[in-house]
Symmetry: C2
Subunit: 333 residues, 2 copies
């Protein structure tokens, strides 16, 4: 039905584009006039709240940049910041962040569970709206060159921005960590993409790149059988034959007496949440186990949720600009 | 998992509020600084595209108002406009729209399938973000009073803004239509809420009100059995014992050789899409019929889709501000 009308069937449109086909909820929305890039820097400081606040303050002082979140982990002694903005303002924000961090973080005195190569460890750029991955790759290269020039930091490019396949995976670049960095940089195959082939004495190196939005997605099982969680994780993750853009492991949630399939969805456009959820549910059923609940840790692009609603509701011919808030932003730019 | 980190379990937050409980995706988001009200005027002109374009132009000329859509139905000779803005700019837009419409639409020469009482037939205000239903009721009363004063139009308030229960339903107010309006207005129980107790000679009367967002939602069945669509519609609609906020009817889609359960969801927060879809699917199965697909006609609030993703993915502790675009707008205001 249309509005309060119980009879309308065919609708002529002057303005809108209700039934536009082709553009799906899970794609970047090309009509957005304001490009949105997400940037998720990981900083090697997660214990001194005042220090993290100071770094966040330096970023927030940059116009046109929004600090969406800041979360710190004491045991990892690491903070994950989430910024959003356009390419030029994000560049200014990253420069301000690195300058502020180098003044207060010294890796020679840093300890924490999480592997790290630099005081500012990783800087990924992520296309959200009105920009392509190619735009983010170009931004990563520009920012990497600027960081090397201004702070004499060795810079590695990773994932979509990697200069060679051997540098796609962050884990490979980070192997050896800060303590092994000097030796690693001395190897011909590990010359940095920008900057000196020697570590910054207090800040090590920085890894800059571009990647698809990453969703931290966990599914809790109504059982305490860790073997089941581990078997399901092995079945669904890419590394052992599962879905292309899923990293997964089975872990216990001891305090609740249940187990969890803990995942990173590294490209929810190509490996969507609903497919992961349904596959985990099916694998669990094979062991007589039910799915208790799932959870998203941190932020999720609207398109990932819209795509799930679309799939479960079997929506046909749905276009992202049917979402009122998106239509409003598209029209207002 | 958190970011690229396979180990993080407990996360301390300085800035964000990842796991905030209580505020669900299907509620109005209180932290939005810019209030968004939707207004969906129905105009008694759906055949002269240039005339409708002129009226839309008059609205679009008002600052701070966005025309989200304009769709016209020739057989109904009726157009449905969708506007969004804040209370004061929407008031200005409605005044401009009525002034423009009265100059070009004369109900004495209007014919169409759809029942109508006025040249501008219905003006509902709908809370979308950062506003309450009470705000929209107040706006409807203010706009109704202003329309009566400026254009000498009889004004009826309906739905949430109704002055008496007998005036809640649009169908009851509109019964008798333009042709029977003079006699209706003469009855004591049908004195208008504002304006003269006699019709505007060319424009009749206008019905102004406030209501929840309405979703035009259809489910197509993999059968040509109209009786099945009608039985399902009867089972799920409020009027015959079904779900509280569902209007439904079974209709044939002759060109495709299938049938459709055609619905209006009049309060998708209290009667959500996923529950309607699952109930229709179950009722269809009872007749050995499968659901082929569903469709949303026109716009849908993001919260309705997010709520469906939340339900199907069994998401626990999900907060609307985990949606990146919403967090971004909330922070930017």
């Amino acid at each position: 039905m249309r509005g309060s009308d119980m009879k309308t069937r065919q609708i002529i449109h002057f303005g809108g584009n209700y039934r536009a086909r082709g553009s799906k909820g899970s794609t970047v929305l090309p009509w957005f006039t304001m490009p949105i890039i997400e940037c998720v820097p990981n900083i090697s400081e997660g214990r001194r709240a005042d220090v993290v606040q100071g770094i966040v303050g330096a970023i927030a002082a940059v116009p046109q940049v929004t600090v969406l979140d800041s979360s710190s982990d004491a045991s990892h002694n690491r903070s994950v910041l989430t910024l959003a903005g356009d390419p030029s303002s994000l560049t200014a924000a990253v420069m301000a962040m690195v300058e502020a961090t180098l003044q207060v973080v010294d890796l020679r005195r840093h300890q924490g569970e999480h592997p790290r190569l630099g005081a500012v460890d990783v800087i990924p750029f992520i296309p959200i709206e009105g920009v392509t991955m190619a735009d983010c790759v170009a931004l990563a290269r520009d920012v990497g060159a600027a960081l090397a020039a201004r702070f004499a930091l060795p810079v590695f490019l990773y994932e979509e921005a990697a200069s060679t396949p051997a540098r796609r995976n962050l884990e490979d670049i980070r192997r050896g960590e800060f303590e092994g960095l000097a030796a690693k940089l001395a190897l011909p195959e590990w010359r940095p993409d920008f900057g000196p082939a020697a570590p910054h004495k207090s800040a090590g190196a920085v890894v800059v790149g571009a990647r698809a939005p990453l969703i931290a997605y966990n599914i809790n099982l109504a059982t305490d059988r860790l073997d089941v969680a581990k078997k399901i994780a092995a079945a669904i993750r890419h590394s052992s034959g599962g879905l292309r853009f899923v990293k997964a492991m089975g872990i216990p949630l001891a305090d609740r007496g249940i187990v969890q399939v803990s995942m990173n969805l590294t490209n929810a456009e190509k490996t969507p949440m609903f497919r992961v959820f349904e596959l985990v549910k099916r694998e669990a059923a094979r062991y007589g186990v039910a799915v208790l609940e799932s959870e998203i840790v941190g932020l999720v692009p609207a398109a990932a949720l819209v795509a799930s609603a679309e799939w479960y509701l079997q929506l046909e011919g749905f276009a992202p600009d049917q979402v009122l808030e998106q239509r409003l932003r598209a029209k207002r730019g």
